[in-house]
Amino acid sequence: MKEIKITVKNITEHRLFMPFLCLAAVLLVNVLKTPDFFRISMNNGVLYGYLVDIVNRASELVILAIGMTLVTAASGGQDISVGAVMAVSAAVCCQILSGGKVSANTFENPFLLAVLMALAAALLCGAFNGFLVAKLHIQPMVATLILYTAGRGVAQLITKGQITYVRVENYKILGGYIGNCPVPTPVFFAVAAVLIVYLVLNKTALGLYIESVGVNGLASRLVGLNSTRIKFLTYVLCGGLAGFAGIVASSRIYSADANNIGLYLEMDAILAVALGGNILSGGRFSLFGSVIGAYTIQALTTTLYAMNVSADQLPVYKAVVVIIIVVLQSAVFKKHITELRMKKSVSIESGR
């Protein structure tokens, strides 16, 4: 009996327990509402079903959430410019591919060049944010506020205010399907991004450094870590990942729409980090928690869409979820709960 209790306690106190519980709760609602929720079928040689849709659509969010986790862990703040950075990188990519035309039916420039340039632009955005935060010590959200608003303007500038279309089958692969593979390509990108970042963090000491800087920047500097450089690096990484997500997103709609690519995604990414059990004020982090958080949010979005909630109204529900999570996470609230518990146990003891 005691052993079972301990195992239960081990499971419930595991870092990933809450994220998984949230995901399970969202999925359960779906099962009750739509009986064939878990059914996966093959249509025209590709996998088809709610689950596939969720996993597919969540890919960009997963990529963003990884970057956001690192930024949050190292600097204790969030990067709210990621959606705008996605728009910038999509604009660069499509504009180079179309050779400056509004609509192109063939690649005007090499594909690799376009992708590399788009990533370079995104990395530059990340470096700009990183410079303001790490070097000039400006609050992360204020620093990234600059790009949050300027970013879409810059993207408009690159596409000359139009939506640039790239109507080439090869370009649609990134956001669609490779050959006869039944699994959508973005899923592979998401998995690859998670694996690469995970390996880099764990095979090198970078993950440890990031946590240490996030817990106490001054102390890490005193033990010889260059905390400025590590913070800077996380912002550059976050920018690069956002750029990558932007390319995938633009390939999905084979165009660069500066006003709508990555719209509201910064909120979702922050929400994913919070849902993953990460503390928003920095320090220890769980990459997989954020990934699960990202899938949970996409599941929530899909569920709300299925319940006929319009895209414009979605933010209401997400805002409520965010507030609930941060309130539950807040130190004051936790202290309050502990005090309540202690009072209870004291009263039991004195009652005896």
């Binding site: 010590h137 004020s281 997400k318 805002a319 309130v327």
Partner: protein, 346 residues
């Protein structure tokens, strides 16, 4: 030594305000010289800066209040949209008069202030996260009320919106007819708010508490200031101003729609920052914020008068200015720290 320190601090802040005013004058004079034929030099053009930005001035004042206590509120743009939409909805679809619409607008603002202020002051959650959620909530609620644009045709409302107050000066137009300069009641409301908040910050206990909290929360607490309550009050006042500013904005646009006032939080924050309010708290005046708003208005009218530049240039230029001032602040802050450290060593 103490005197020296305060001198450094004061000179740094006055320096920022001076840069702001100088920047505004330079921009406006350049505009007058370059667009002489397009009426940039007429007094009405200058008054238009106030007319089109009356709402933003009020919202900027509120933003300055919370930035002084080291907070921030990025929900004001969506509060404005929500206020416009609900005003339009109750007046057009429910037949409620304009007075009640104004009251509803103020209540929406206060409600946002209470909830956000409570979460920030009492539960100690980062202002940015709380108000980011508030921003999405407001924008979403706007869409819940209506996804269609509602234009306001209420008689009393339009009477308020179009009531011209003529001033004792004016200019002569191309046909040689004298046209007196005019303003709308919204401008008077906005300027009254500026005066009110200036007095509040400078001459009341509440104002001094705000600066004390922004300067150092810990010592403010030790001085016996009820930090949490004061913070909550600041957010409620700011919410009220956001509601009022939203209503003034609504008088200007006479419609409610989902995409309205998008990015207005950014305009308000940049106005405050450009006006010399420090992001690190403790320093700021609403006069500076007023000039920040005027600079934004000048950029907008320069770009629209120029004609060939697209509207997103306003955002890019404004962001660049914001960036410049943030970096400047941080450099001034860094030099101050260095001087303080040096004085400690000596």
């Amino acid at each position: 030594m103490e005197k020296n320190k305060t001198k450094i601090k004061r000179s740094g802040n006055a320096f920022l305000l001076m840069i702001t005013i100088a920047l505004f004058l330079v921009m406006y004079i350049v505009g007058m010289v370059v667009f002489q034929d397009k009426g940039f030099a007429k007094p009405q053009m200058f008054l238009n800066l106030f007319i089109s930005n009356a709402g933003l001035i009020v919202i900027g004042c509120g933003m300055t209040l919370v930035m002084i206590i080291r907070g921030i509120d990025i929900s004001v743009g969506s509060v404005t949209a929500l206020v416009c939409m609900s005003s339009a909805y109750v007046m057009e679809n429910k037949g409620i008069n304009a007075y009640s619409a104004l009251v509803i607008s103020l209540l929406i603002g206060i409600l946002f202030g209470i909830v956000q202020g409570y979460l920030i002051a009492y539960l100690k959650i980062q202002p940015f996260i709380v108000t980011l959620a508030g921003m999405f909530f407001g924008r979403g609620m706007t869409a819940v009320i209506s996804t269609e644009m509602i234009s306001i045709k209420n008689n009393l409302f339009l009477k308020w919106a179009n009531y011209k107050i003529y001033l004792p000066f004016g200019s002569v137009n191309k046909k040689g007819v004298y046209q007196p300069a005019y303003i709308y009641p919204t401008v008077i409301a906005a300027l009254l708010i500026v005066v009110f908040i200036t007095v509040l910050l400078k001459y009341t206990k509440f104002g001094r508490k705000l600066y004390a909290i922004g300067g150092n929360e810990q010592s403010a607490l030790m001085m016996g200031i009820n930090v949490r309550k004061t913070k909550l009050m600041a957010y409620i006042l700011e919410g009220l101003l956001a509601g009022l500013g939203g209503f003034l904005f609504c008088l200007n646009s006479s419609a409610g729609f989902v995409e309205q006032a998008k990015g207005m939080e950014m305009d308000a924050i940049s106005a405050a920052v450009i006006g010399g309010t420090l992001l690190s708290g403790g320093v700021g005046t609403v006069i500076g914020t007023l000039f920040g708003v005027l600079i934004k208005g000048t950029i907008t009218s320069l770009i629209t008068t120029q004609g060939t530049l697209s509207s997103w240039w306003v955002r890019i230029v404004l962001s660049a200015l914001l960036c410049f001032f943030i970096v400047l602040q941080s450099l001034i802050g860094a030099s101050k720290k260095k001087k303080n450290a040096l004085s400690l060593i000596r």
